[in-house]
Symmetry: C2
Subunit: 277 residues, 2 copies
């Protein structure tokens, strides 16, 4: 492990120089001097499509920030493969702002995820390290300077059902360890998304935005605006904390034919944001 | 003409009894005791598709009010054909709230349009009678009780470029003669949509909602929220006048593959309406 950590530490030294994708804060246009609330897409949305089709859908809905999923860029990809995929995305005007969601069940998996993020050139991993790996994860965060946003996955998830379960385990840790607040899984786990945003403000590094039919375990994915989540309250909370991250749509209904649902969801979110800006 | 008008007058006597489609005011769910602002679709959106595909797209975006266009139900259809199409729509849960846009260049065309609306069983025609036919149109409105919403079609239109041009010609006429305010064509003709709504309030029977790239003649159709129209101001104006009609999306970009654009537009509109309700 030592040599691996040394490698990561050395890598971190050169990270700024190798970042070919701009940091979000640099790329985000300002809206009326307030919070930009840039919309992105969580790559899992395109689980049933190759990257070319995923890109085409992103262009159709005019969304240009992607948290890339290993389905579209495997963790064991060569640097050559990574560079090729990055070029494909850059040519389409798409910014890869994060990698993930990446599950990490061993120390080696943690190391692999951070090495992968470095090779991809992103400052953020959306990930799920097992709780017993958080000490090690913290050391790798310190070594690499790469942030981790831990994703909550709803009442079925034994590790991190709601945002409180994540926060309880990271609250005293390095401030570069935070939360990818999945609002659909959060509300199914009993956590109000707007309240969570205000509670965990500085630790929210990423958002998965979606809607669900019910605020309980068996709530199902649905187009934004048709479900139970109060997006007006959410957006107001994000404005209040001056959220600087991406609001990544993760659409999990009609996954074999998701474009219309993605488009409706994006439109709804933009309608709410525009009205409150 | 006399026998034709007699026919229409007799028909009007039985209109209430033959209406199989509920009036909008009866069908519209109330939102927070305020204005419902039900969303519909203007049939021209589906100009390149048959009715079956049009219905499928409406169901996908969860919009159930249609202003049916002659493309999908020709004006000279038999009652049997009309009944069959009405059943097809009713089976899909879609309410035909109006017919149109119907262009009327002769008295006979006016009579045909109103007879068609009666056979379809709708209380509203979205139409464009030539200005010299407005006296005749008014007599048929009085005879049938069917309302007409005259559609403005932008600066290229020699008859009715903006809403003011319609209103100037109908202001002293029967109150069942009004306006289908096409906000995209209006703004291209120099009329601010929200201002027009407040100015012509009681005469606005229908709305074509869309967005355009520029507030001038060569503005092009674009997804709602990506263009120049201030939908927050529009929705506030509609709430102020307690608008009781339908807000019909008319999407004229990507007409061979419009679903994503319709969905994004519908989502955006619903996001604005929800935020302001």
């Amino acid at each position: 492990m030592t040599s691996r950590l040394n490698f990561l530490q050395q890598s971190a030294m050169g990270l700024a120089g190798t970042l070919s994708v701009p940091l979000v804060s640099a790329a985000a246009p300002e809206v009326k001097g307030a919070v930009a609330l840039n919309t992105g897409i969580a790559g899992y949305t395109f689980a049933k499509f190759d990257l070319e089709k995923a890109i085409a859908m992103m262009k159709k809905v005019n969304i240009n920030y992607l948290s890339i999923k290993d389905i579209h860029l495997p963790l064991n990809s060569s640097q050559e493969k990574i560079d090729s995929v990055k070029k494909q995305l850059a040519d389409a005007g798409i910014n890869v702002y994060a990698v993930g969601v990446i599950y990490m069940k061993t120390k080696e998996a943690v190391d692999e995820a951070f090495a992968y993020a470095k090779k991809v050139g992103v400052p953020l991993i959306v990930g799920v390290p097992n709780p017993e790996l958080l000490d090690h994860t913290e050391s790798v965060v310190k070594a690499t300077g790469i942030r981790i946003a831990i994703h909550n996955h709803g009442p079925e998830d034994k590790l991190y059902p709601g945002p409180a379960n994540v926060m309880e385990l990271i609250k005293g840790r390095d401030p570069r360890m935070g939360l990818c607040l999945d609002i659909g899984h959060a509300i199914r786990a009993g956590a109000d998304p707007a309240t969570a945003v205000k509670l965990y403000k500085d630790r929210i590094f990423d958002l998965h935005i979606k809607d669900v039919t019910l605020a309980q375990k068996d709530g199902k994915a649905i187009e934004l605006g048709r479900g139970v989540i109060d997006f007006g309250a959410l957006v107001k909370a994000l404005q209040k904390i001056k959220y600087q991250g991406i609001c990544a749509l993760e659409f999990e209904k009609d996954m074999s034919d998701p474009l219309a649902g993605i488009a409706e969801s994006a439109g709804f979110y933009h309608g709410v944001v525009k009205t409150l800006s």
